[in-house]
């Protein structure tokens, strides 16, 4: 997929890829974009154009992930973005899926036990994701933030903060695994009578949450985590 550039018209980009709407919303950009370019809009909202574009482009292109570039952004920018994605999951995506799932279960034949099981499966997923977000907010992000402030304090300007990042391999993320199982199980093992339309709505919701979380995790494990371990070394 071609990349998005600063001089492109934002409205055209969004029309072409409506899945970007929640992403730009996270940056505070709202619809009613007019004919303004990406650059103009970023200036108006006082956003770092480079950062916004990197996020948009990695979101659109599964293969595009400029690790070196992402690591040049400030820790607080990254944390801020990850926090906003977390909020989006909690406030919109989870409740959306839940709403559809609840009507899916109640509108389909009562006593279809499969569906109740899917409901339970989803609740256990929700618990896990909520717990992770809570931990992010209370422990992990504040820790990263504090570390980065400490580095800024003790580092002279001549060291341009070239962090020695280790190419750490990430393990399978349990949140991603749960979502992919949930989707796979519905597709493969659904049985009995059920409401097709609501079923699709649920799977669609799960699938777009899955895509979003994958992007979140890429930044989390391949950018933030190595940044933090590099800062930890530097501070010793």
């Amino acid at each position: 997929m071609p990349l998005v550039y600063p001089n492109m018209q934002m409205s055209e980009v969004v029309e072409e890829h409506p899945s970007l709407i929640p992403v730009i919303n996270r940056f505070g950009i709202r619809l009613g974009l007019g004919d303004k370019s990406v650059k103009t809009i970023c200036d108006e909202y006082q956003l770092d154009t480079d950062f916004l574009l990197t996020v948009i482009n990695t979101f659109l292109n599964e293969e595009y992930f400029p690790e070196r570039k992402l690591q040049t952004f400030h820790t607080s920018q990254i944390i801020d973005y990850l926090t906003k994605t977390n909020q989006y999951y909690l406030r919109y995506q989870l409740p959306n899926i839940e709403r559809h799932l609840t009507s899916f279960i109640s509108m389909s034949t009562p006593g279809n036990n499969t569906l109740n099981l899917i409901g339970k499966f989803f609740s256990s997923f929700k618990e896990e994701l909520t717990a992770r977000i809570e931990k992010d907010d209370k422990v992990w992000f504040p820790y990263c933030q504090a570390l980065s402030e400490k580095i800024n304090g003790c580092q002279a300007s001549d060291e341009t903060g070239v962090l020695q990042l280790s190419g750490e391999q990430r393990l399978e993320d349990p949140i991603e695994a749960l979502l992919s199982d949930l989707k796979g199980i519905m597709v493969k093992h659904l049985s009995g009578d059920y409401n097709e339309n609501l079923c699709y709505a649920v799977i669609f919701g799960i699938s777009s949450l899955e895509k979003d979380i994958k992007q979140h995790n890429r930044i989390r494990y391949r950018i933030l985590t190595p940044m933090v371990s590099a800062m930890e070394k530097l501070c010793k």
Partner: protein
């Protein structure tokens, strides 16, 4: 799950190679394509036998019959003609002057030949008795070590069983496995809490 096809293109024509490569990546993923301008370069790469298919020209084929003839079923020759021309149907070929639609059809037929691997993979999705035993214990939340003790098998064997279960069912998490087990009557829903 499809296996990635390893493809070697041995053609001196750069544009032809690029075109072929983009058709293969666009229409027949997942593929991994290596391009060699000459047979010598191909030989030098020292990975001759790792490929599933070889695309080459008839000249290269004739000049290097020793290599290609034993691999005839994997070799595809680009011949200079439209559809129906040539008539040398003993070798696999695609006709470079045919329309894109026809070339894609030709590639489809050629690449469809080797479903042998896929088919055998598909037939054996059922869990063995032992795997079912292990699954029953996993979903009860018992640790690998305890499973090993209960079934009097080694920890490594438990891990292998787990790996095979995940591979066969395509389910990675305990919650997913639990759901599968209940749905398929491997355990009763009352036994556990999800």
């Amino acid at each position: 799950m499809h296996k990635t096809r390893q493809i070697a293109i041995i053609l001196s024509d750069t544009l032809q190679s690029i075109g072929l490569q983009s058709l293969l990546t666009d229409y027949f993923p997942p593929v991994e394509v290596c391009w060699f301008p000459t047979f010598d370069a191909f030989n030098a790469a020292d990975c001759n036998d790792t490929f599933d298919y070889y695309f080459t020209s008839s000249e290269t084929l004739v000049m290097n019959g020793d290599f290609f003839l034993p691999r005839r079923s994997k070799t595809i020759v680009l011949i200079d003609g439209a559809e129906g021309d040539g008539g040398i149907s003993t070798t696999n070929h695609i006709t470079v002057k045919a329309s894109q639609e026809i070339i894609i059809e030709q590639l489809q037929q050629l690449l469809a030949n080797d479903n042998s691997g896929n088919l055998s993979g598909d037939t054996n999705k059922d869990l063995s008795t032992r795997e079912t035993d292990v699954l029953q214990l996993i979903v009860k939340g018992i640790t690998n070590k305890e499973i090993a003790d209960k079934l009097s098998i080694s920890l490594n064997t438990v891990l292998t069983h787990r790996k095979n279960i995940t591979a066969k069912l395509g389910i990675k998490t305990v919650s997913g496995l639990t759901f599968y087990a209940i749905m398929n009557g491997i355990i009763s829903g009352d036994d556990i809490e999800l």
